[in-house]
């Protein structure tokens, strides 16, 4: 009964979203106040209905209600409670419901925080947001109903993919969806602005916090996914340029660009057309990503159960929203006029360069991702696009970005003198150069990757420090320190995020340059060398987990005769799903991880063992978390909060323009 009620609230939510779309949009067109006023309660009601629906589905998973087809396919009584709950979104139907729930959440947040936005504008924003809800709710209800009942319920379920039974992955999709779906708000803001035919500084202020919120969730989601791949898949890599990874990376790149260009709109009222385009594209790439992941049009390890019917439907949704918005864009873009002018050397120019680099790199990733499709059509046969393509074509953009970032972040608006900025930035440059030379001297037999990566990474980190210091003005050290503590949080957010980018750059470059790998057969009691370490395989034992069986090896890691760590890599077998997984054992270190994977027992005796030293691996994710934390700092800034609510101050800005 409860399950049917969940289905019923889902249908109700669809009806409410239909109302939320049609009534306020028509009301805004005609200027009917009460019609427009429907938008906000409708958005909140939609959130309530979908929360009920989602909670019921979660309840069905928690109590293992095997009359529901989805629970049978994705759960099992023996599964730990945490994974019963996360199993809700570990599948196509449940994750689409989560998608819709988050969409409704953002709609409701805009409704609650946007009380003071102009009436027609908020009605249009919520109307557009509602129309996305209509599309995805009908997709969910008509092609992927999560509440489907079975006539003859089985005694037990068939389990969840064992690889997904992991805390890192459990929280990777919700963050990712928060990011993907959060970008729907920027899309709605952009389309509403095009409908109104007006983009001004106030629009830039409204759209920025939502972009920031979506972007920081995407950052955390991508970092969690990459971290999960590193320790769970047992391949030792952190990024594979898989189509599904790219699907989350493209919106990240575009929203990072949008984040920066919205600042230009807000402060200088230029770059409006471009910013609107980015706002459309950011969500557009989310939609395309959803299509790629769920249609099976590209082969990927992550792919959900593929279904061509769903694929066509999703392509239709993506085509309608992106295509519609882009047509509206080409009709209206000509009416948006820039109000400011700026010199070639200025922060505006630096931010434009930032945008070009980010947008083009996103496009490169896009082309690489869909190349198998294009090439098949154009040449009838294809080449595979592997990591070598992405490494070669994507890296130069990131290097360019890292080179200009510290300078650009210090440059003043409007008109700047490079000389003055250089004076502020030269200590950072000097420190970076010294560090790079140090790295070069300790690893001179190796490639240039380590010193160049070090130079770029430390240039970014020290550059953000220089940026902060430059904000304190002149005077005595004490006065400058006092001013530093009084800087707005957004300034700290900017510096922390930029430094985070530097930390990630350092991690990626040093890991790739300095990793050590040993793959061999080890007998029990045997010791082998891994870089400076000695690894001994002491014993192998059988293990019995709650829903798996397996084997684990006791590995002793020593350095110069001193114990560094005892590691216990495992090979697990999940009988319900019939699949094996490897559990790498990792000793985390600030400067290097030791990473050991147990392979198969060999016929000739002994075990296949893979061991790595992964230098600076954790820096990659720490950097990503810093980037996201910088976003949180900026969001907590009073000035940004006010713009999210768009209270009196923004009204004043709107009046000025």
């Amino acid at each position: 009964m409860l399950v049917e009620f969940g289905h019923f609230t889902l249908l109700l939510a669809l009806i409410v979203s239909l109302v939320q779309t049609t009534v306020p949009l028509y009301g805004a067109y005609k200027g009917y106040g009460p019609w427009m006023a429907i938008a906000r309660p409708a958005a909140v009601l939609q959130l309530i209905l979908l929360s009920v629906s989602f909670s019921i589905l979660m309840y069905a998973f928690v109590v293992s209600d095997f009359s529901v087809a989805l629970v049978v396919k994705n759960s099992h009584t023996l599964k730990p409670m945490l994974y019963k709950i996360t199993g809700v979104w570990g599948n196509h139907e449940g994750s689409m419901l989560l998608w819709c729930l988050i969409l409704a959440l953002f709609g409701a947040l805009v409704a609650l925080f946007g009380r003071h936005l102009p009436t027609t504008f908020i009605a249009r924003v919520l109307g557009v947001q509602g129309s996305i809800g209509v599309a995805f709710l009908s997709f969910l209800i008509f092609t992927s109903n999560p509440f489907l009942r079975l006539q003859f319920p089985p005694f037990d379920g068939t389990g969840l993919n064992p690889m997904l039974q992991d805390p890192g992955l459990a929280f990777h999709p919700p963050f990712l969806y928060f990011g993907y779906v959060g970008l729907s708000t920027t899309f709605s803001f952009a389309v509403a602005a095009l409908l109104e035919g007006r983009v001004n500084a106030a629009w830039g202020r409204w759209v920025r916090p939502w972009t920031l919120l979506a972007w920081l969730n995407l950052t955390v989601g991508i970092a969690l996914g990459s971290w999960w791949a590193y320790y769970e898949l047992g391949w030792g890599g952190f990024w594979f340029w898989d189509p599904v990874e790219n699907a989350s990376f493209m919106p990240w790149l575009i929203s990072a660009a949008l984040l920066h260009s919205a600042i230009v709109v807000e402060k200088r009222e230029v770059l409006k057309v471009w910013t609107i385009l980015l706002a459309i594209l950011a969500f557009g790439f989310s939609l395309i990503g959803t299509f790629i992941v769920r249609s099976g049009v590209l082969t990927s390890v992550h792919a959900f159960a593929n279904d061509p019917e769903r694929g066509v439907y999703l392509l239709g949704i993506a085509g309608f929203f992106i295509g519609g918005a882009l047509i509206l864009f080409s009709i209206r873009a000509g009416t948006l006029k820039a109000n400011g002018a700026f010199a070639f050397v200025s922060r505006e120019s630096a931010l434009i360069l930032n945008n070009v680099l980010l947008a083009v790199s996103a496009f490169v990733v896009f082309i690489g991702t869909i190349w198998p499709l294009i090439a098949e059509m154009a040449f009838g046969r294809t080449l595979s696009v592997g990591p070598p393509f992405f490494d070669a074509s994507f890296t130069p953009f990131m290097i360019g970005l890292a080179v200009i970032l510290p300078i650009g972040s210090i440059l003043p608006w409007k008109r700047a003198k490079l000389g003055r900025t250089a004076i502020l930035a030269w200590p950072a440059f000097l420190l970076a150069a010294l560090l790079a030379m140090f790295v070069w001297s300790i690893g001179s037999d190796r490639s240039l990757l380590a010193p160049i990566g070090t130079a770029l990474g430390s240039w970014l980190i020290f550059g953000s420090l220089a940026d902060l210091i430059s904000r304190t003005g002149r005077g005595s050290a004490a006065a400058r320190l006092r001013r530093l503590t009084r800087l707005p949080r957004a300034d700290f957010g900017k510096a922390v995020s930029h430094a985070g980018f530097g930390v990630t750059t350092l991690g990626v470059a040093l890991l790739l340059a300095w990793q050590v790998e040993v793959i061999r057969v080890a007998n029990i009691g045997e010791t082998f060398k891994l870089g400076d370490y000695d690894v001994t395989m002491e014993s192998v034992q059988r293990i019995d987990g709650p829903n798996y069986v397996g084997e684990g090896a006791n590995m002793r890691v020593e350095r110069d005769g001193e114990l560094v760590a005892n590691l216990f890599p495992e090979k697990r077998f999940y009988p319900v799903a019939g699949t094996p997984t490897t559990e790498a054992a990792i000793r985390n270190g600030v400067f290097a991880d030791i990473y050991v994977v147990l392979g198969d027992k060999q016929d000739a005796g002994g075990w296949a063992v893979r061991a790595h030293i992964k230098p600076f691996a954790n820096w990659i994710w720490v950097g990503a978390i810093l980037m996201a934390f910088g976003g949180v700092l900026s969001l907590s800034d009073r000035r940004v909060r006010i713009t999210a609510g768009a209270r009196k101050s923004t009204q004043a800005v709107a009046a000025q323009t």
């Binding site: 082969t299 882009l326 198998p372 595979s384």
Partner: protein, 182 residues
């Protein structure tokens, strides 16, 4: 009226986007995901020119025309989906079906490490470092798997990882059919 004019530059995004939708749509219309129509089906398998990998002999064109059904599998150590299909290949090898492995655009060290770690399902294995064999076989992207019958003709092709479902619903009938014919 100047307002009505649409700058050509702003027309580009929707036009480019329409092109991509077309690409995606025709990609969706491929009736059967993975089993791409191949001009080679029913034809003699292209010749193989491979370098030996490890201490197994390199497969030759004679191996392709041997009197049994056999699987030709293109793989690489850098290819993530290859790891997904690997256990299925091991099962097929255990059934006694000969599997010719073609290591595509890979380095011998990495390839051997891959096999040492996960096991080696291949009866013969050759390295195609330049990807020339992949080209002559019309390989779409790896992993890709072909079934070749006792007279050396390609009878089935699958692009993407061979999962249990793919094996059961698509490949099994070719393996069985050919087995009864032989």
């Amino acid at each position: 009226m100047a307002r009505r004019q649409i700058p050509w530059l702003t027309l580009m995004p929707p036009i480019i986007f329409a092109g991509f939708v077309g690409i995606f749509f025709s990609g969706m219309l491929k009736d059967d995901q993975g089993s791409l129509p191949s001009a080679f089906i029913g034809r003699q398998a292209p010749a193989l020119e491979l370098v030996a990998l490890g201490n197994k002999p390199a497969p030759s064109s004679e191996d392709l025309s041997a009197q049994t059904i056999k699987i030709v599998n293109f793989w690489a150590s850098w290819c993530a989906p290859c790891r997904v299909e690997h256990p299925i290949l091991m099962d097929l090898a255990a059934e006694g079906i000969p599997i010719i492995g073609i290591n595509y655009k890979d380095t011998p060290e990495n390839a051997l490490e891959f096999l040492a770690e996960l096991g080696d399902p291949y009866t013969a294995i050759g390295a195609d470092e330049a990807g020339r064999n992949g080209f002559s076989w019309g390989v779409y992207g790896i992993p890709e798997t072909f079934i070749v019958n006792g007279s050396g003709e390609i009878i089935y092709r699958f692009a993407g990882p061979v999962t249990q479902a793919v094996l059961d619903t698509k490949m099994r009938k070719y393996l069985d059919d050919a087995a009864t014919v032989d």
